[in-house]
């Protein structure tokens, strides 16, 4: 399964090679032109017919993770975070370091050895370290270097009613959607971008949009989903299994009402479940894209994912398929002259 390969690949922001290679290999035969820009974005172009708009479709390749800061005398690895990770989730997680995928465990004092105060205080990043089983600094240095990237080590599992558990569903789910979309034929020109460095500030999308200069853009994401029993409904953001979610507003973007309306109608007319993502903090590549040059109308269609930015996020394959299908039908339904800039 392609989604399994995508989530098992490691691509912490700034180090997207593994993911990029899978994507290029997967889409090469289906697009007219493919290139990697100076920041590392993969740009795939499918030519369109005359009089139809150019549409930028974006999904980010990078994931949150860590980076090696130093190795101490005992051979334990100190690290910094890359992107937004809740420090409290780190203890006891398995990780993979560097190109050679060196196994490591984020260690901490066993419960027996903690005093009362320690038990009540979540561990801070400065107290945490990665144990790679090395006996000394010298031994550790043979396996790991400063600046090596660290990714969560987490199996891709299918479980429950058509659900997936994996790491990096934010945003390999979006990459999966975009890859699939590039395998279809359209009248519109498709400017597909797999962006880098979204998790540390929408950086890849900024330069990609500058070059693309499209009529409008759609961002595909794995987004917040907090539909848990104790959470009041007005804080669910999205609900698992209720279809892909269209963004209304987040910290960076007020999304195009026209695009939202058309995409929503497409789903409803084709009996595909769709929901609106409740306005909430957070952001995605649209934040940079919509403010590029003279402005680019944007929509974001996302697969709801519980526990994003952790090693174990959960999504529904039904929402994933719904996202692909809705986008496909919407893009194929665009008529000559629609959305074309003056």
């Amino acid at each position: 399964m392609l989604l399994k390969r995508l989530t098992m690949a490691n691509g912490v922001s700034g180090n997207e090679d593994e993911v990029r290679n899978i994507i290029i290999e997967e889409i090469r035969e289906h697009v007219d032109e493919i290139k990697t820009d100076r920041l590392g974005n993969v740009i795939a172009i499918k030519k369109g017919k005359e009089g139809f708009p150019r549409v930028m479709l974006a999904a980010h390749m990078d994931e949150v993770g860590m980076i090696v800061r130093s190795i101490d005398d005992g051979g334990f690895i100190r690290f910094s975070l890359v992107g937004g990770i809740d420090e409290r989730i780190l203890v006891s997680k398995q990780v993979l370091i560097g190109k050679d995928r060196i196994h490591g465990v984020i260690g901490a004092k066993a419960i027996h050895l903690q005093d009362k105060n320690e038990r009540n205080t979540p561990l801070k990043i400065k107290q945490l370290y990665i144990d790679i089983g090395a006996k000394s600094k010298e031994e550790a240095e043979k396996l790991v270097k400063k600046g090596d990237y660290v990714a969560f080590d987490s199996e891709f599992i299918e479980f429950g009613g058509n659900l997936i558990k994996a790491k990096a569903l934010d945003d390999r789910a979006g990459c999966g959607v975009l890859i699939d979309l590039l395998k279809e034929e359209y009248d519109v020109e498709i400017y597909g971008v797999f962006t880098v460095q979204e998790e540390i500030g929408l950086r890849g999308a900024k330069v990609a949009a500058y070059n693309a200069d499209p009529s409008f853009a759609i961002v595909f994401e794995g987004t917040l989903c907090s539909d848990i029993s104790e959470v009041p409904e007005h804080s669910h953001i999205t609900k698992l299994g209720k279809g892909p979610a269209l963004s209304l507003m987040d910290s960076y973007t007020i999304f195009s009402k026209k695009l939202n309306q058309c995409i929503h109608e497409t789903a409803v007319e084709n009996n595909i479940k769709i929901q609106y993502r409740q306005p909430s903090p957070g952001g995605n590549d649209a934040g940079e894209i919509h403010l590029t040059k003279e402005g680019i109308p944007c929509a974001a269609l996302s697969v709801p994912c519980r526990y994003i930015h952790s090693p174990s996020s959960i999504m529904s394959l039904e929402d994933f398929e719904g996202c692909k299908k809705t986008a496909k039908l919407f893009l194929k339904g665009i008529k000559k002259g629609e959305y074309v800039c003056e």
Partner: protein
């Protein structure tokens, strides 16, 4: 006595337009200025751009059409609406206020029972539109719908009290300047921007498109003239404020001096403004492309981002005069 076109000002202030939903206010402004501009266009984000042709410097005048407001995030079974802020909305300022939706439905903002009012946050608050069930409410209002604050327009003594003086008073100043401006040696782009309240967004794309030689934003500024206010040397009735600095910009000294010189030469009362919090469209304009010298003419305003903002008529009139004289200036050396 000072006179302004109160009818137009009232219309501007009472027209709906939370950030991202500027359709109605754009239409009102467009109709008002149509016959005075050589060319009018609307860009991809919705900025309204009115051009007055000329051969000198290209000057972008930015005043934002959008206002703060709220967006509905959920409708519960009993028909209460949960909401989030659009722009800087204080929970304390909102409590007990009324909001108005695009379809003119009015709602009241209430709160859950709290043991300590200090815990008041927007997610503990709701809007009540006086309908008994979700079923009834969603016929009119749904998730994603937006509302602005609702409060009357008051013209009392020598001041205006209203919602949304931030920044419809800036739009008013720009419109009046455009109307009174006869022949100008410069090429002026009057831009009524969108989405300023959520991050100077409209001004960013408009400035890129126009690529002006000089940018001037027209917006309200805070004052320091109320009891135990934070120290700030701006007061109501003391003239147009010429910005020196805020969070978004350090005004180019050349631009500050240019506006000051015009004010002095024309005996227009002015004060300098150094604003600790907040920013305005010039923050986005001055960083566009390879950099655009930019400044701001501010209208002093008390109680900004409340449903009862207050400005003095005399400051508004002086701001209009100052803007016109700057735009009419020949041989601007920037």
């Amino acid at each position: 006595m000072n006179k302004i076109n109160a009818e137009l000002l009232k219309k501007l202030l009472m027209t709906f337009g939370p950030s991202g939903n500027e359709e109605k206010i754009r239409k009102v402004i467009k109709e008002e200025i149509q016959e005075f501009a050589d060319e009018i266009k609307v860009d991809a984000l919705g900025n309204l751009i009115a051009i007055k042709k000329g051969k000198g410097k290209r000057i972008m005048v930015a005043s934002h059409m959008d206002e703060i407001g709220i967006m509905v995030t959920n409708v519960d079974d009993d028909g209460f609406l949960r909401f989030t802020n659009i722009g800087g909305v204080s929970p304390f300022m909102s409590l007990g206020q009324k909001v108005i939706f695009d379809d003119e439905t009015i709602g009241v903002i209430g709160m859950e029972k709290l043991d300590d009012i200090k815990d008041l946050k927007l997610n503990k608050m709701f809007i009540d539109v006086g309908l008994p069930s979700k079923e009834e409410v969603i016929k009119k209002i749904n998730v994603g719908d937006v509302a602005s604050f609702y409060s009357p327009f008051i013209y009392q003594n020598e001041c205006i009290i209203s919602k949304t003086l931030d920044d419809r008073i800036g739009c008013f100043v720009a419109i009046e300047a455009l109307k009174k401006l006869k022949d100008t040696p410069n090429e002026i782009y009057f831009v009524f921007t969108v989405q300023e309240e959520v991050g100077l967004r409209g001004a960013k794309t408009a400035a890129y498109g126009i690529n002006p030689d000089l940018g001037i934003a027209i917006d309200v500024t805070l004052t320091g003239d109320t009891p135990k206010a934070e120290v700030m040397d701006v007061g109501l009735g003391k003239g147009a404020a010429i910005k020196v600095k805020d969070r978004s910009i350090i005004v180019s000294p050349k631009v500050k001096d240019l506006i000051t010189e015009v004010a002095v030469d024309n005996e227009i009362p002015f004060q300098y403004e150094i604003l600790d919090a907040g920013g305005t469209d010039s923050g986005a304009i001055h960083l566009s492309r390879s950099g655009i010298p930019s400044g701001v003419i501010s209208i002093p305003c008390r109680y900004v981002h409340s449903p009862s903002e207050m400005v003095y008529i005399s400051d508004v009139i002086n701001s209009i005069k100052l803007l016109i004289k700057v735009l009419e200036k020949e041989k601007i050396n920037i």
